[in-house]
């Protein structure tokens, strides 16, 4: 098989992984040195495909031959797809060539499981080692970890990779049992603990060997099973606290060819995925608790964002006075982000806040208007009932993102 053909097969096989981050790596430079590549902690999106997703890394599988039969996966062993396998040298050559042309910032390598878990993991590590040692490649490397691989191989991977990830795949262990019979929640969590322990050791001991400096992340597929957002967010919150995850990625399930009847054949729920990312961001960046965003079973509202939904359910806390409120509460106002909250705080040390300052800070005025007061502004909507206010704030009719 030609290299181009392999690339077509193995990029198509890898694209269902949503993660594209090339951030979080330590500062590295090849200035005046042998070798190639740099990282500085910030990710770069080198291109965008018409699905609106960024191309930051060469995201491929080493092979899409796979012994597992995960129902949601296009590469499951019962799937009738063309199969291919890259050699180590082919992956290295593609990575370096694309990198020199400034097409990518590094490599995101994953694989189907062939022969055994350790055999597969070892092959992934070999690619990373060849890039790092033989070619002194200092760009970004993200390795997808095979959960059942031995802890020793995971540690080796951590020496070369900037980020490691193990996918939890599905929101609950029951779904995993049903749709991915060969995988187990226990071993997935075991691998995540191995990575967490490696990360902890590397931070605790300055002399410890380097270990995945960009941390670990995971992904779950949304919409392949019946799990609701309430359960998802609850599980996500515990994942963040147990495994020091940098990110949880949500991948709206895209129907695959010759779909087994166990998974739906409907358009990917893109808006739901978007709301989950927003809720996830509120948990990571704003100190929201999953239970605050959804108090009972069900899904996040599709027509308004979760922060606005929360504020509408807590009218008794608003409006707040921007000159005196806690920073923590300012960041909870719909339409004011963490950055703006900090800027408001800096500005109010110089003088009192005026309504027009908020426009200049780039806040979303329509959203924040009912929830704040300043010395020159008081909301007219203060007395409105929740549903009346909701009607005012809804920007458009609720719908899934345009399809067909």
């Amino acid at each position: 098989m030609q290299l181009t053909d392999k690339l077509i097969v193995l990029a198509d096989a890898a694209k269902y992984d949503a993660s594209c981050a090339s951030s979080g790596a330590p500062k590295r430079s090849s200035k005046g040195q042998k070798g190639l590549g740099a990282t500085n902690g910030n990710g770069i999106c080198h291109s965008f495909t018409p699905d609106g997703r960024c191309v930051a890394l060469l995201k491929i599988l080493m092979t899409n031959f796979c012994l597992y039969d995960c129902q949601y996966c296009i590469n499951r062993r019962s799937s009738n797809v063309p199969r291919a396998r890259f050699s180590v040298d082919e992956i290295v050559r593609l990575t370096l060539d694309f990198y020199r042309r400034n097409l990518i910032s590094g490599l995101f390598l994953s694989s189907g499981i062939i022969r055994s878990n350790d055999y597969t993991m070892e092959a992934l590590v070999r690619v990373a080692r060849t890039l790092r040692i033989e070619h002194q490649f200092r760009g970004y490397i993200h390795l997808k970890t095979i959960p059942d691989a031995s802890p020793d191989l995971i540690r080796q991977a951590g020496l070369y990779a900037d980020r490691l990830s193990v996918n939890v795949e599905l929101p609950t262990s029951q779904s995993l049992e049903r749709l991915a019979p060969e995988k187990s929640d226990t071993t997935i969590r075991h691998a995540m603990s191995t990575i967490r322990d490696g990360l902890e050791e590397a931070t605790a001991e300055p002399k410890a060997p380097r270990f995945s400096p960009g941390g670990q992340s995971t992904q779950m597929i949304v919409g392949a099973d019946e799990t609701d957002d309430h359960t998802i967010l609850g599980n996500v919150q515990s994942l963040y606290s147990q495994y020091h995850l940098k990110r949880v990625y949500y991948s709206a399930f895209s129907p695959i060819p010759e779909s087994p009847s166990s998974v739906p054949l409907i358009a990917p729920p893109l808006l739901r995925e978007h709301r989950l990312y927003q809720a996830d961001f509120l948990i990571r960046g704003y100190g929201f608790h999953a239970d605050e965003l959804l108090t009972g079973p069900g899904n996040l509202s599709l027509d308004i964002d979760p922060k606005l939904a929360w504020a509408l359910n807590h009218r008794e806390l608003f409006p707040i006075d921007l000159d005196s409120a806690d920073m923590y509460m300012i960041a909870r106002v719909p339409g004011i982000g963490v950055t703006s909250a900090h800027r408001i705080d800096t500005l109010r040390r110089e003088r009192r806040i005026r309504y027009s300052d908020l426009t200049r800070l780039g806040c979303s005025m329509k959203k924040l208007a009912p929830f704040i007061t300043t010395q020159d502004y008081r909301p007219r909507q203060a007395g409105l009932e929740r549903h009346a206010l909701l009607a005012q704030l809804q920007t458009s009719t609720p719908a899934q993102m345009a399809l067909l």
């Binding site: 495909t49 699905d51 694309f98 500005l347």
Partner: protein
């Protein structure tokens, strides 16, 4: 009241900083200074340069933190349009206000601070764009080209981002020799040192660049194969793509030839599935579950 005219053609932040120091020392208010730069040519009141007055009895001086200085410098890389305020005039008004004790002048909630913030954002964004969307083309390497660049690129930035680009690519490219040409100047790197060469008159054009380049390049096909295959037609979302990758950059990106085709193909049927349609028609291969893969 005397008006002072300062010529800022081809000026940089350091020149402005010297002038601003002397103007503050002489307590010249911002309304009494005309900053003449290449982008504000033909000012009605422009005249020959005026000698700056000697320091006043109570000279103004200003100490800025490194962070504040960096913000001002970044804003100075913003190329304003005709109906926008000259960058040097804006910067001087801000430091004047700071010197007069108006601490908010540099904060994003202030009217001047907001413009600074907007310009800092625009410049940082453009720096990001050149880091992301610039494309190097490999050049022939043989005895004849021993000192010629191995990789060359053409880019048309909106603001002055050459230095930021140079710092970035020298970290990335190791000992490779490379050249980036833009209308306002070219960065030339020999694998150790880099410098910026400005056009003697006017600007470099894409023709100047093409005269340097050997554009035959087969390996671009690999990238095109990857781009089309990593695209998921079931998630078509043009709006986000265009917002994140403005079309003014497409012209010099190889993938431009694919975009329209991928979109229309996704709209006409391919959108139900995520798989690349080139693969759907090919013979596939299921794998027996006896624990051995067949390859």
């Amino acid at each position: 009241m005397t008006m002072y005219t300062l010529h800022m053609t081809r000026a940089n932040f350091t020149c402005w900083r010297d002038d601003a120091r002397r103007l503050l020392a002489a307590r010249v208010p911002p309304g009494n200074v005309l900053w003449q730069s290449e982008d504000s040519a033909g000012d009605l009141f422009a005249s020959g340069g005026t000698d700056l007055p000697p320091p006043a009895e109570a000279p103004l001086a200003l100490r800025l933190s490194r962070h504040e200085l960096r913000r001002l410098e970044c804003a100075s890389h913003y190329w304003h349009t005709h109906h926008q305020e000259c960058r040097w005039a804006l910067l001087y008004r801000v430091v004047w206000r700071l010197a007069m004790g108006e601490g908010e002048a540099l904060l994003a909630g202030d009217s001047d601070g907001a413009i600074i913030e907007q310009r800092v954002k625009a410049v940082s964004h453009e720096v990001h764009h050149i880091h992301a969307f610039l494309r190097f083309h490999p050049q022939p390497v043989d005895d004849e080209h021993q000192h010629a660049p191995e990789f060359i690129a053409w880019f048309e930035p909106r603001h002055d981002v050459l230095e930021a680009a140079a710092q970035h690519f020298i970290d990335r490219m190791g000992q490779h020799r490379w050249l980036i040409m833009t209308p306002g100047g070219a960065i030339i790197c020999d694998g150790r040192q880099w410098h910026i060469e400005r056009p003697e008159t006017g600007a470099f054009t894409v023709k100047d660049y093409q005269a340097l380049a050997e554009m035959e390049d087969d390996a671009e096909d690999l990238w095109l194969a990857y781009y089309a295959s990593t695209f998921n037609p079931a998630r078509l979302n043009e709006k986000t793509m265009v917002r994140s990758m403005p079309s003014r950059f497409w012209q010099h990106m190889p993938e431009r030839v694919l975009i329209t085709g991928l979109i229309s193909h996704a709209r006409h049927g391919a959108q139900r599935l995520g798989q690349d349609s080139r693969l759907a028609t090919r013979r596939g291969r299921t794998i027996a579950s006896n624990g051995k893969s067949r390859h």
